[in-house]
């Protein structure tokens, strides 16, 4: 009995930390939807390419690890600009789900581009925090997960400050609430869109760095995986709600790791989707959302 309890708590700890990652991805999607009112399914690939680009300083110049971090963020932002230009800039009117398809097209394109460039070989990310877990009583804590959680907390705090306490943030919120009035008040909606892209991509790049470290080996497939998890998180958390995305990400992480530990890998994803359906059927608005689309 005590053994099971220890397992449950261990997976709870792991789940919360792992969930920080899901929360950050969901956060990117939510921010994006909140300001631009459109979905960017190319967010996952943006992060993925950023992570790969981060490897360039390491492999080409054997530079220290913090340059990899900078390169990840910068790479993600660069890709974000490309995505914005290709997928969103020219889609003013039209079917509201047209950006869905263009970003899917971009997803296919980016994933395939990375496969070509890397010849489909997995690339290794250095294990910055070592391979050993810390021991805290009967529990094992992975240092890279802790780093992810800490980074997540820092990023969320930074984001909160930017969104709620700066002029830029105010402009962002204005555009999110009512683009027409924002324009009347002198906010350039186009510029805000581009800057939102840059902000969410930078967020993604930072997240991606820690994901890559905990995963160890990189493959292009992580783009789809991140996208799917991110979408599940925003549905559970409620569209347009930042605290909702965070809570939902943590919840998903916990559910997944408990399922993984007790039932095995075949059931981990099943439980994630069951959770998704439970929310859709019982509470379509999500945990803290305003209303279903």
């Amino acid at each position: 009995m005590a053994e099971t309890l220890i397992d449950v708590i261990q997976q709870l700890i792991n789940g919360l930390m792992y969930g920080a990652f899901y929360a950050l991805i969901g956060l990117g999607f939510t921010l994006f939807f909140g300001v631009m009112k459109k979905f960017n399914l190319a967010y996952g690939p943006t992060i993925m390419v950023g992570i790969y680009l981060g490897l360039i300083p390491l492999y080409v110049w054997e530079a220290p690890i913090w340059t990899v971090f900078i390169a990840c963020v910068a790479g993600a932002v660069a890709v974000g600009f490309v995505v914005e230009f290709a997928c969103f800039r020219f889609l003013r009117q039209g079917h509201e789900l047209a950006p869905l398809m263009t970003t899917i097209g971009m997803l296919i394109l980016l994933q395939e581009a990375v496969v070509i460039v890397t010849h489909a070989l997995p690339y290794e990310y250095p294990a910055v925090f070592g391979d050993e877990s810390w021991e805290l009583g009967p529990f094992l804590i992975r240092p890279d997960y802790v780093a992810m959680l800490l980074t997540g907390v820092i990023l969320v705090v930074v984001l909160y400050v930017v969104v709620n306490r700066t002029r830029f943030g105010r402009a962002m919120r204005a555009v999110a609430e009512n683009p027409t009035v924002a324009r009347l008040l002198g906010v350039s909606v186009n510029r805000m869109n581009t800057l939102t892209f840059a902000l969410t991509s930078a967020l993604g790049g930072a997240t991606g760095f820690f994901v890559a470290i905990s995963l160890g080996a990189l493959q292009p497939g992580i783009a789809s995986w991140m996208t799917i998890k991110g979408l599940v998180v925003i549905v559970i958390g409620g569209l347009g709600s930042i605290p909702g995305a965070i809570l939902a990400g943590l919840l998903l992480g916990v559910v997944e790791l408990q399922a993984l530990w007790f039932l095995g890998i075949g059931y981990r994803d099943i439980f994630a989707y069951v959770l998704l359906f439970a929310f859709l059927v019982l509470r379509p608005a999500g945990l803290l959302g305003k209303a279903a689309t």
């Binding site: 039209g94 079917h95 047209a98 979408l231 099943i270 989707y273």
Partner: protein, 303 residues
Amino acid sequence: MEYYLAVLTIIGMHILLGLSVYLVAITGQISFGQQGFYAIGAYLAGIGTALWGLHLLPAMLVGMLVAGAVGFLVGFPALRVKGLYLGIATFGFGELVRLTFLNVRYTKMIDGKLVGPNGAEGFRHVSYIYDHGLTQSQYLGIIYTAVALVAVCLYILERSKLGAKFRAVEEDELAAAMVGINVTAVKVFAFTLSGLVAGLGGAMFVHYSTYIDHDMVALPLAVASVTYPMLGGLGSFWGTLLAAAFLIFLTESLRFLQEFRLILYGMLIIATMTFRPRGIIDETVMLKLRGVWRRHRSPYPGM
């Protein structure tokens, strides 16, 4: 020659898959989960012929009907969400189906071979076609007969009152409800039909390839199935049909480009959605075509 037959066979299957997405799309529901019905049709039809000894048509019927029944069941929770939410939900459904089949084991020893869905190893030896001496071109004939039947049904649907109700629901649900359309019935019916069509596609696929596993009905198939109606346009089912044929033909004929095929695929999607956001054959095209036809036929110009 065999190669072209194979390509045409795949096109037939994908047409059915695309039409199944089309059916729900014209009621305004975007479904990324039709590959789930495809999988249900495939596995059940395979079980029908390989494990239960049914003939081809009854087995395909079983697959189709079960997929349609599941479509009916999915239609109800689908009412609660719209837009991308529904897309995510249906994708979740598709993944649940896939993961279920990943974990299912139902095998029997037949003629010394282990036949049946076997978890991650998939479902092999669905060899009804080859056991009964059907050639590839004969099976192709069967497939396209089915496609033609579905196309005829869609043609009738689009011209009927029901078809108008479908499009009314897509356009504005509240207005449709106010004119007396039973929106729930329309949407659930659309899902049921789409389940039937996709199930049929899957049932035919499994007999063609003699093999199905969970990897074949994952995200790439979901993306492909939605791409066909989105690119082809929601004006007419011909759009989906032609888009499926064109895209598969394109990816096959560009094999020499190897890895760049998918990049081209992605760019094509982006380009089409940028210049024609509602697809190539969208509603305005259909209106113009009908206008031309009417002007051509009517003795009274302008009517």
